[in-house]
Amino acid sequence: MSTLSERILGASAGEYVERKVDRAYVHDGTGVLTLEMWKQMGAELLSDLPQLYVLFDHIVPANNSTTATLQHELREFACGSFLHFSDIGGGICHQLMSEGVVLPGEVVVGADSHSCTLGAFGAFATGVGATDMAAIWLTGETWFRVPDSIGIHLSGSLRGGAEAKDLALSYVSRLTMDGGTYCALEFIGDGVKTLPMDDRLTLCNLSVETGAKTGMFYADDVTVRYLAAAGQKVRPQVPEPCTYSRELEFDLAEIVPLVAVSPRVDKVKPVQDLAGLSLDQVFIGTCTNGRYSDIARFAKIVKGKKVAVRTIVVPASRAVLAEAIRTGVLGDLVGAGCTIGSPGCGPCLGAHMGVLGEGEVCLSTANRNFKNRMGVGGEIYLSSVATAAASALAGEITEPEVD
């Protein structure tokens, strides 16, 4: 009679537990501070935790010599200490951890708030800051308060132009930016089996935008098949009846294309209501919607046409890019006038490769539209891939066509 978090952490909601961490990862942004804090702790040796990862994704390739110097130090350390290391162009940390690395039932900690993405595999995955991570480097353990869980019941299946991203924006707007604070979201119900892993990753990715500690799916046949294709053999997790602190219900068939209006991710409106809003940039990518299925869906819509606004496509990982090359999707994108970035976070965090100017408006497939995030004075609207594609072709916010 426990929630998935309680089962994995081995204690009841509200209790504090010390837990050995199965996998811990940092990126170039948080890794620099982690390394500094770890050194300040007087540490010389890493814990015997074998699964430590340093995955460069935030500002890659380096945008200036200050960044390059910081990255150089971290790279030398990671390679010298035999940590799992992925250099520039490898891809976004969460994406790499989702490509057959994280397994059901594991405790996974990332020094990035979107580490909650990996709950899609039935793991307990959450974000921590650099000093917490430094302590994990030192001891291999950390403490958690076992979260209450919010049950998100899904029924039916998505249809029309709606995507998992639209469902994600729906639940974020229902819960609001702090409605999930300290809780875990559990996605359950009949509708779950209609959602492929990519959709589940998108749904868990946005859980932190409600303040939640993580978002989770029970591993099922879809998970087992996805991981089998990546060479991992796992078993499904069977849900038990349990108590949720709160429950929400969504009929997937009723989800419509949505946009989150600058500067709040919970200020969500139907695309219809914003139709005609003029755009300066469209951005496809990020740990939310930069997977192969996203890029292919975008390409399918713009193929043979021309985008009417500058459009940046950044594959979430090298595997995604390689697949897009293999299938010809990349050629379709280039042919349609899109600009392709090297795998990583791209302009999502406003550091490089597509920073917005004062007063510019960007429609992005990312998860955050905070004021100034992609550039001082720039505005970010968030949408699904299909909405982004229709809008890129029109140069203004446009409803996707129903296929």
Partner: protein, 156 residues
């Protein structure tokens, strides 16, 4: 753990991008974060933080996990942050860098003296006395040793 300071009142849902923008993160120089703290919210705020108690609305510190946000506030001389609720990563980060964070709903009068005592479990502002839930013993120990770095140094 006790302290006091003048109140600086802020609204709800202040995200960590707002505390310190992503464009200032690529450095180890803490003074950069101090001089740009809250720049995108109100550039005048940076000058008011020394000896301040920030009294914010709900969900303070949401968004990015960047610990620089907590470090910037500590280094700017903030004595504590009080809010009805915090985003959990910011909350952990603040304790880990030795910045007291207090979950409490109080009415904020700009510039008024705010006092707090974490061990005794209260906050006082504008003549009002507010009881607060004590931190877990582990968190209190981290905070009183000045943060997680010192905590682990002491335990090795």
């Amino acid at each position: 753990m006790w302290g006091a300071g003048h109140a600086v009142c802020l609204g709800p849902d202040i995200d960590t991008d707002m505390v310190i923008a992503g464009r200032y993160l690529r450095t180890k120089d803490h003074s950069v974060w101090v001089s740009h703290v809250f720049e995108d919210l109100d550039p005048a705020l940076a000058g008011q933080l020394n000896g301040a108690v920030i009294v914010a609305g709900k969900n303070f510190g949401c968004g990015s996990s960047r610990e620089q946000a907590a470090i910037a506030l500590r280094e700017a001389g903030v004595a504590a942050v009080i809010a009805p609720s915090f985003a959990r990563i910011f909350f952990r980060n603040a304790i880990n860098v030795g910045l007291p964070v207090i979950e409490c709903t109080i009415s904020c009068i700009e510039g008024e003296k705010v006092r707090f005592d974490l061990a005794a479990g209260w906050v006082e502002a504008a003549g009002n006395h507010y009881p607060i839930r004590p931190l877990s013993p582990r968190m209190r120990e981290i905070l009183t040793t000045g943060g997680l770095v010192n905590y682990w140094r002491g335990h090795r």
